[in-house]
């Protein structure tokens, strides 16, 4: 039997809590870096096809700035931090004091490096809180960035998974900048895609088994 068939609503709730704790800390970190109020949406945990997952990220051709980290350790996973270009410009300008425009590709190494660092800090705080909560050892790789179509970026996280399943369990947490005029706007996403074997390990660490 496929591992995805064993996932119950209790399991999904646990994964939701992971998204909650992780992204909550990351949102705080982002808010400190940018000196802005950042709100976090209720995490969305879904079992979806690869295509549906890409739709969640804005559609295959949607151009975004992304930071990718491979997570090694007890529960290997992929983590993506995805930001619309407009927001990326704003954030990086604030961090570096330089004018950047990711839409017209007028950015330099400093801007890219700042983006990497931003992703590093956010993913780091996500992981640390996740690690504390589950008592699992999780080590992030050096962050890698890509500014490209979201379909091309996210599908990178499907490589291992696609050997096991045509579905993916995604823990998605959206972030918003608190702003009276644009409350509905989603500014960024954290996508955590645990490897197939990692689910059992995460559930076990929290005292739940897959076979119930």
């Amino acid at each position: 039997m496929n591992f995805i068939d064993k996932i119950s609503s209790t399991h999904l709730d646990i994964l939701k809590e992971i998204g909650n704790i992780g992204a909550g800390h990351a949102a705080t970190a982002l808010s400190i870096i940018l000196n802005k109020k950042i709100e976090m949406r209720v995490p969305n945990v879904r079992i979806v096809t690869f295509d549906e997952m890409i739709e969640m990220a804005g559609g295959a051709e949607n151009v975004v700035a992304s930071v990718y980290l491979r997570i090694e350790g007890d529960a290997p996973s992929h983590m993506f931090f995805v930001l619309p270009l407009e927001q990326t410009n704003k954030y990086i300008q604030q961090m570096t004091g330089e004018n950047v425009s990711f839409e017209t590709l007028s950015y330099d190494d400093l801007a890219l490096s700042a983006l990497k660092e931003l992703g590093n800090i956010l993913a780091g705080s996500y992981l640390t809180s996740l690690s504390d909560f589950t008592r699992l050892h999780l080590y992030p790789s050096v962050p890698a960035t890509s500014i490209d179509m979201v379909g091309a970026i996210i599908s990178y996280g499907f490589i291992e998974l696609s050997q096991f399943s045509d579905y993916v369990i995604v823990i998605d947490t959206a972030l918003n900048e608190t702003n009276v005029e644009t409350v509905e706007q989603v500014d960024g996403h954290f996508f955590l895609l645990p490897d197939p074997h990692s689910f059992e390990i995460i559930f076990q660490a929290l005292g739940v088994t897959l076979d119930e």
Binding site: I54, A60, T145, S146, D148, M149, G151, A152, Q163, D166
Partner: protein, 151 residues
């Protein structure tokens, strides 16, 4: 995996390490497109997976479906695009090199079916959206950095 006849066009969006394979019969104006995720179906850890995502199974399926719909096997040609490495790591597992491996596998299986590759845009580190028009046999490739190129 899908088959089209003119005047319809066929496209796939946001190819990263995946490879888009277009096999077509120019005279019959019929084309098929497969979206390859992995080089080999032996990588599957579960028996009941869709054959369309592996280079070995998808290429053969594509050709047999084309022939069933009226394409002439000996007239088939191919154009391929994709197989990028979206993220650059200094060290990495074999799976990290998946783009180039997908390209190699697709070429190998096309060659074994004696299908000539008449156009390719593979590798690099950019995502691609591709669209093929069976009427003209032109493959349009869109990237974020370079705009649209035609093969």
């Amino acid at each position: 995996m899908n088959i089209v006849k003119a005047p319809y066009v066929i496209r796939t969006s946001g190819l990263g390490s995946c490879v888009g394979v277009v096999v077509f019969d120019q005279l019959q104006q019929i084309a098929g497109l497969a979206h390859i995720m992995l080089p080999d179906s032996s990588l599957a850890k579960n028996g009941s997976l869709s054959a369309a995502k592996y280079a070995d199974t998808a290429v053969y399926d594509l050709v047999s479906r084309l022939v069933k719909q009226g394409a002439r096997k000996t007239a088939l040609k191919a154009k391929i695009a994709g197989g990028a490495q979206m993220f650059q790591f200094t060290s990495g597992s074999e799976l990290m090199r998946i783009g180039p491996r997908n390209v190699e596998a697709v070429k190998k299986h096309l060659l074994s079916l004696r299908i000539e590759i008449v156009g390719e845009d593979v590798g690099g580190s950019s995502g691609r959206t591709i669209e093929f028009d069976p009427k003209t046999s032109i493959l349009a490739i869109k990237t974020v950095n370079k705009g649209i190129t035609y093969l």
